[in-house]
C-alpha cells in the first residue's frame, strides 16, 4: 500500500524554483533514502511534505488522502488528520528544553492524541528504553549528548505512532563518533518495518538499510532506483559525479 504519493510537486521562493516537478512514492515498510548536494531541495521536499512549507503545485497523498490536489490544499480538518500520520526528526533535534526527557515524549501524546497520563508515560518509557535511555528519563535535554538528544527526538516522533517517519539529515549535526548510535536505531526501526524517508549523506548506511534511493539535484529527481544499485552503479552522469566525491573520501555535501 502506498503510504506516500507525491506527483508533480513544485515550489518556488518568489522567482527561485526550488522544487520542479517532483514525483515519487513510498510503500508501507519501505525505507527511502534521499541523496544529493546541498541546495538540491532535499530538505525543502521534506518540509513541503510535512507542511512546514507550502508548495505551489502538485499533489501529495498520504495513505490515500489528498492533502494537496493539483496545487489546492485540503481543508484544515483533513490536513490535520493526514499530517498526524507523519513524523519528522530534525537535524537540530528541536527538543523542548524546559521539559524533561520523559515529558518531551509524553506531551504530544497527551495533548494531541489525548492519551491518559499513565498510558503516555508507559509508552514513553518503553520507547526510551528501546533507545537505551531508560536512565535518562528524568534528565533535561541540556544534560544530554547530541546522540542522546537525537534518540529522544526519535522516541518523541515514534510515540505518536506515525505511519511514516521522515528524517532530515539526522546525523549531520552530530560528532562522527555519535552517528553510529543513531544509525543503529534507524537500522532497528527498518528491521521493524517502519516506513521511513531519510535524507542523509551516510552513503554506506543508505546502501545497507534503504530499499530505494532518490538522487536530487537542482530541485529535480535526477535518478531513482533500488538503493544498492543506485549507489554502487549509478546510471546518470550527475549521480556518478556526486557519488564519486564520496568514494574519494570527500565529505562535501
Amino acid at each position: 500500500m502506498e503510504i506516500l504519493k507525491v506527483e508533480n510537486l513544485a515550489k518556488s521562493y518568489g522567482e527561485l524554483k526550488v522544487l520542479k516537478d517532483i514525483s515519487f512514492s513510498v510503500h508501507k515498510g519501505e525505507v527511502l533514502a534521499i541523496l544529493g548536494p546541498s541546495g538540491s531541495g532535499k530538505s525543502t521536499l521534506l518540509r513541503a511534505i510535512t507542511h512546514l512549507e507550502t508548495a505551489q503545485a502538485g499533489t501529495i497523498e498520504i495513505c490515500g488522502q489528498k492533502v494537496l490536489d493539483a496545487g489546492t490544499y485540503a481543508d484544515k480538518a483533513t490536513l490535520r488528520e493526514a499530517l498526524l500520520k507523519l513524523g519528522l526528526v530534525f537535524q537540530d533535534f528541536n527538543l523542548f528544553p524546559h521539559f524533561s526527557v520523559l515529558r518531551n515524549v509524553t506531551e504530544a501524546q497527551e495533548r494531541v492524541l489525548r492519551r491518559g497520563r499513565i498510558e503516555s508515560a508507559n509508552i514513553a518509557r518503553a520507547l526510551l528504553a528501546k533507545m537505551g535511555l531508560e536512565d535518562k528519563v528524568e534528565a533535561y535535554p541540556c544534560e544530554l549528548s547530541g546522540g542522546q538528544k537525537q534518540r529522544v527526538s526519535i522516541a518523541r516522533a515514534l510515540a505518536l505512532n506515525p505511519e511514516i517517519l521522515f528524517f532530515d539529515e539526522p546525523t549531520s549535526a552530530l560528532d562522527p563518533e555519535l552517528t553510529g548510535e543513531i544509525l543503529k536505531v534507524l537500522r532497528s526501526l527498518a528491521a521493524d518495518k517502519m516506513t521511513m524517508v531519510i535524507v542523509t549523506h551516510e552513503m554506506a548506511f543508505a546502501r545497507d538499510v534503504a530499499d530505494r534511493a532518490i538522487f536530487m539535484d537542482g530541485g529535480t529527481i535526477v535518478e531513482e532506483g533500488p538503493a544498492k544499485e543506485l549507489i554502487d552503479s549509478p546510471k546518470n552522469e550527475r549521480t556518478q559525479a556526486f557519488l564519486r566525491r564520496f568514494s574519494e573520501g570527500n565529505s562535501l555535501s
Partner: protein, 211 residues
C-alpha cells in the same frame, strides 16, 4: 517617632497598592500588545507601535497628569485620583512589558515552533506550553528591572495628590523640620525592593533547572 513610622506605614500601603494593581493589569495586558507589535497587519502594527513609542518616550509624570486632567477638557468627564494613577501606570508599564515580551518571544528558535507543529500541537498549545514558559525564563532579568523601577515610580502618584509614601515622608519632614523622615522613606523603599529582588532571584534559581 512612632507616630511618624505609623503614618509612613500607611503611606507605604498606598504605594504597595499602586504597585500590585499596576502589575496585575499591565503584565497580562502587555501580551496582546506584544502580539500587536509583532503583527503583520499594518492596521494593527502601526498604532500599537505608536502607542509604545509614546509611552516609553514621554515622562510617566506627564502621562499621569494627562490621564487625570485631560478627560475633563476633552469630554467633561471626571474620575477619581487613585483610578487615574492606576490607569496611567498600567498603560505605561504595559508598553514596557510588551517590548520585553516581544524580545523574549522573538528569541525563541523557529525550530521550537516547527517541532510543535510537526507533532500536531495546536497553535495555542504551542504558544502557552512550549514558547511562553521558555520566554518567561528569558525575560526574568529585564522584568525584574521593570518591577523594581515600578516600586520607585509609585512616588510619582503624589503629582495628582495621592498620598503615597514619599508624600507622607515629605509632610513629616515639613512638620518636624528634619530630613529624617525622608531617609526612613528611603529605607522603606529599600526593603520593598529587597523583597522584590529576592523574589526574582528565587524565581531565576527555580528556572535554572535547564539552560
Amino acid at each position: 517617632m512612632l507616630k511618624m513610622l505609623w503614618a509612613m506605614l500607611g503611606g507605604s500601603l498606598v504605594s504597595v497598592e499602586i504597585f500590585f494593581l499596576t502589575l496585575v493589569i499591565s503584565v497580562p495586558l502587555a501580551l496582546p500588545i506584544a502580539f500587536g507589535r509583532m503583527s503583520r497587519n499594518k492596521w494593527i502594527k502601526v498604532p500599537v507601535n505608536f502607542y509604545i513609542l509614546v509611552m516609553r518616550g514621554t515622562p510617566l509624570i506627564l502621562q499621569i497628569i494627562f490621564v487625570y486632567f485631560a478627560p475633563y477638557y476633552l469630554f467633561h468627564a471626571s474620575y477619581d485620583r487613585f483610578t487615574a494613577v492606576i490607569v496611567a501606570f498600567a498603560v505605561n508599564y504595559a508598553a514596557y512589558f510588551a517590548e520585553i515580551y516581544r524580545g523574549g518571544i522573538e528569541s525563541i528558535a523557529k525550530g521550537q515552533y516547527e517541532a510543535a507543529k510537526v507533532l500536531g500541537l495546536t497553535k495555542s498549545d504551542t504558544f502557552f506550553r512550549i514558547v511562553l514558559p521558555q520566554v518567561a525564563k528569558r525575560i526574568l532579568p529585564a522584568s525584574a528591572n521593570e518591577v523594581i523601577t515600578l516600586v520607585k515610580d509609585t512616588a510619582l502618584a503624589q503629582t495628582i495628590g495621592v498620598a503615597e509614601l514619599f508624600r507622607v515622608a515629605q509632610n513629616a519632614s515639613a512638620r518636624q523640620f528634619s530630613t529624617l523622615p525622608i531617609f526612613v522613606a528611603g529605607a522603606f523603599y529599600f526593603v520593598m525592593n529587597w523583597v522584590v529582588s529576592s523574589f526574582f532571584s528565587r524565581l531565576e534559581k527555580k528556572l535554572a533547572y535547564y539552560s
